[in-house]
Symmetry: D2
Amino acid sequence: MNLAATMPFSTLMGVEVIEATKERIVGTLTVRPELCTAGHILHGGAVMAFADALGAVGAFLTLPDGAKGTTTIESKTNFLGSAPEGSVVTGVATPVKIGKTLSVWQTRLTTADGRDVALVTQTQLVL
Amino acid sequence: MNLAATMPFSTLMGVEVIEATKERIVGTLTVRPELCTAGHILHGGAVMAFADALGAVGAFLTLPDGAKGTTTIESKTNFLGSAPEGSVVTGVATPVKIGKTLSVWQTRLTTADGRDVALVTQTQLVL
Amino acid sequence: MNLAATMPFSTLMGVEVIEATKERIVGTLTVRPELCTAGHILHGGAVMAFADALGAVGAFLTLPDGAKGTTTIESKTNFLGSAPEGSVVTGVATPVKIGKTLSVWQTRLTTADGRDVALVTQTQLVL
Amino acid sequence: MNLAATMPFSTLMGVEVIEATKERIVGTLTVRPELCTAGHILHGGAVMAFADALGAVGAFLTLPDGAKGTTTIESKTNFLGSAPEGSVVTGVATPVKIGKTLSVWQTRLTTADGRDVALVTQTQLVL
């Protein structure tokens, strides 16, 4: 099941989750024109939204027994480089720490030719 | 001119800038179904993307003479509450510090009935 | 009672809390030589530690009934300007949101002549 | 040369840098009583100050030719676990991205028995 695709906003953006285990979530996003800035690069907001979707899948897959769900309580992005219109960005989310109350995930985004796009760190609350 | 609307991704989301001065940028976003999570609340990624758009307008309006543009180098969001599908979220961006090399902006998002949605702090580099 | 002074590290630094209500915590820190960088300005680490102490006092004062305590789960600092050796820095912490599980505090640090030093946003977990 | 030790505040804390290359900075900090909270664990402010010192050494060592120095412009900490009084915390800083204008460093702090203490991400401006 494409977990991210159950999120309407991820569908609108075109996020595809291609691997989802408790240790690693991998997704791709094609930089379509409507996801860009006026300068024809992937909009920073789209960068953050893509990463958030992957980290949230990871938090969901690692919820402790009995938990009802998870919500992002904070997210921090360092923008490292641009992704041009037409390129495909890959995001890889890995857990920093999985706890009973909180989990912390980090997602690294790169272009197909290996250039850095962003590093996103987010905290998920267990509900 | 609707500065945010010159950004295709802001147009896709439906961001509207209703006030834009050097001291304050105000925008609204209607929480349409396609901007939501599976739980019918505004997706965290859309929250961050909306705020980023407003802060970037502020950074653009306060660029020093001779600057070529601005880019977001980092952004931090604290999620404070949810915005339900169908509601309208207002974002107000104000400058924390405007410098020659960097500017820092903060955007507060609230629902029409005054509930907190998020606080976003972002750093813009002068190009 | 000087709440921050019950913290040995705050005592080592010389943090003084001069006002502490549920709405506002104000403290001062004299920039002694041992709190500085090699360049004779307040070390970034001391900036963050000072702010953290004030925000934590605020989180403590606003704990819900029955809570056992509070711990900082994340903290974000934007450095806005330097504080020279010998100056006195004032920090003012105010609540962004006080909830049952989490509270978010923001602390602004300025010099006596009103120049910005830092803006710190931190999340406290209710224990 | 103990670069961090040229910083008076790092000396006050007792930060020791035991490895410093362009790829990796390693330091240790003994959790003395005066670095603690009232609960006898390493104060969050000391955690952040320790990490900041290591990341700044890394940024200094990787400055481009002709640069005058570096300053931390923002720092984000996720607190992952506590370090008890008397323990020794090790910090390992590695570069996320080294650029001409900015560099981003990440420092992971752990106890001697391998438990997570914090993950710190900081941006350094090239001066």
